[in-house]
């Protein structure tokens, strides 16, 4: 999967070696990317965000989906989650 090929730094720099494009993600974005790479599901990530930041699981899930949509627009996210 595409995500595996990305170089992601601790500071939130994301480099796509295929296109040479660079991106920057904020702390929350970085958390989502890392957890996705670890193979966690969206629900599990929402759970972690709930614990870390105290936001509701629903809000977290919505924000994750919004984030993945932005990733998809950049061609960084292809998989369909159901």
């Amino acid at each position: 999967m595409k995500l595996k090929r990305l170089a992601i730094s601790e500071e939130g720099f994301v480099f796509d070696p295929e296109t040479g494009n660079s991106y920057t993600v904020n702390e929350t974005g970085l958390l989502i990317l890392k957890k996705l790479r670890e193979g966690l599901s969206l629900e599990e990530i929402a759970e972690i965000m709930n614990e870390e930041y105290g936001i509701s699981r629903e809000e977290a899930l919505r924000d994750i989906q919004d984030f993945l949509e932005a990733m998809a627009r950049f061609g960084l996210w292809e998989e369909k989650y159901g």
Partner: protein, 446 residues
């Protein structure tokens, strides 16, 4: 205690954003200028508004003066009028001990009107109308000659006065930088300077007492000044030996950079712009190693932008929001390239008057002109701004309040924040009357 939550964001980095990521994010807010709140300035004097800091002007001048005087015994700073010739700004530099460097009849007259004596004026430029040239000669200005035709004019004036005139020669040369400003003065490498010197000596009416070399502006190579200084010293020794003149001053012009971000430069100014101390060191080393001990001509520096740029700010207000077809946000400001001529060459620092929540996003800053070229910044990185938000652009102290234009709309006020924290108007806003006063309607159109 939970950590504060931010919605996840991802932004594509353009080359330009990568470069400024750190500095722009950490310095995005500016609430005050020398202790005076930005909001207060805008409410009292209007927006847009140019704001100059007297403290910064004086501190920068004193810093540069001390720096150069610490390296070379005889230094004169001559304030480059074209960089900013507002009376109050010139006054500050003259009070600090700067002479005036002018390049036209207008600038010469403005300096004289401000009370600068003729012998405290350096007169440069490719076209010095005969009348003002004569006045400058009579008032003892230092005149740096640009062309052979000007030499002819000066010889004629010398005939009128019956006295031998003391002049300087502007020289252009290869100092290893590009672009080379070789249209001003006489070329060194081609031998033109020496030919002209012969011609002057043969004429018998003029005497060369100074050499001038202004290489360009925003020069990022201190070594170029070292080379220029070396070449001027060598040339002065040659002229002294061959023609018996005494070269009393070497004028290295202006061109030191300010901490501004030149377009096309990858690195932020903190990294790309060498410290001014390097310029002082290179110049002094070149001079001191070549000049005979104790025989030190006056070193003149016509530093413009490095003295004034960082003391100038522009407060501007977001007047409308837009979304471009490519999805980027755009803002329409009340200040455009009519006021910010230097926006064509530099990326200004863009600061918001207060902390705005939300992730920075790429956006475009447009001016208010109904013209496609009116782009203040094509790639700013700002949080989502509401209508009415004020921005502070800097550094804008150099070349904007001289090269601005009356186009489509009025030019705004300029204020000076004084050393004790008062804001004083140093130029009033333009009115319709200012603009139409000089117009005339022929009878048949009335």
């Amino acid at each position: 205690m939970k950590r504060p939550y931010q919605k996840p964001t991802i932004l594509k980095l353009q080359v330009g954003f990568l470069r400024e990521k750190k500095s722009s994010l950490s310095r995005m807010v500016r609430q005050e200028i020398d202790g005076v709140p930005v909001a207060e300035l805008a409410e009292k004097f209007g927006s847009p508004l140019f704001v100059f800091s007297e403290k910064r002007l004086r501190e920068q001048f004193r810093y540069l003066k001390r720096l150069f005087e610490g390296h070379y015994p005889r230094v004169e700073f001559s304030w480059s009028y074209k960089t900013n010739y507002l009376d109050a700004i010139c006054r500050i530099f003259h009070q600090e001990g700067a002479t005036a460097e002018v390049v036209s009849n207008f600038e010469y007259e403005k300096a004289r009107r401000l009370g600068v004596p003729g012998d405290q004026i350096v007169f440069n430029g490719p076209y010095k109308p005969k009348e003002i040239l004569r006045q400058a000669v009579l008032e003892g200005a230092r005149i740096n000659v640009d062309s052979l035709d000007e030499i002819l004019d000066l010889e004629e004036i010398a005939r009128e006065t019956g006295e031998k005139l003391r002049i300087g020669l502007r020289v252009n040369m290869d100092t290893g930088i590009y672009p080379r400003w070789d249209r001003f003065g006489f070329n060194l490498e081609s031998g033109e300077v020496l030919n002209v010197a012969r011609r002057i000596a043969a004429g018998g009416r003029l005497e060369v007492v100074g050499l001038h070399c202004h290489q360009g502006t925003f020069i990022l190579e201190p070594e170029a000044y070292g080379r220029a200084a070396e070449k001027l010293v060598d040339l002065s020794q040659k002229l002294e030996n061959d023609f018996g003149w005494t070269i009393e001053y070497l004028d290295l012009g202006g061109g030191f950079p300010s901490r501004n971000r030149l377009k096309g430069l990858y690195l932020p100014p903190e990294v790309a712009v060498p410290p001014l101390s390097e310029y002082a060191e290179k110049i002094a080393r070149a001079l001191l190693t070549r000049l005979p001990a104790g025989d030190y001509p006056l070193l003149i520096l016509e530093t413009g932008r490095a003295l004034v740029d960082e003391a100038g700010f522009l407060i501007t207000t977001v007047r409308a929001l837009k979304r471009l077809p490519d999805g980027r946000r755009a803002y329409i400001l009340d200040a455009g390239v009519n006021l910010l001529f230097t926006a064509f060459w530099y990326h200004f620092r863009v600061e918001v008057e207060r902390e705005i929540p939300g992730p920075p996003e790429p956006c475009v800053l447009y001016g208010p002109l109904c013209m496609n070229i009116d782009v203040v910044e094509e790639s700013a990185l700002l949080p989502p701004l509401a209508r009415g938000t004020r921005l502070v652009l800097s550094p804008v102290g150099a070349y904007n309040v001289t090269q601005w234009m009356q186009f489509i709309t009025y030019r705004p006020r300029v204020v000076l924040v004084t050393e004790n924290g008062n804001a004083e108007v140093i130029r009033e806003a333009e009115t319709l009357e200012d603009i139409v006063r000089r117009e005339k309607i022929p009878e048949h159109l009335k």
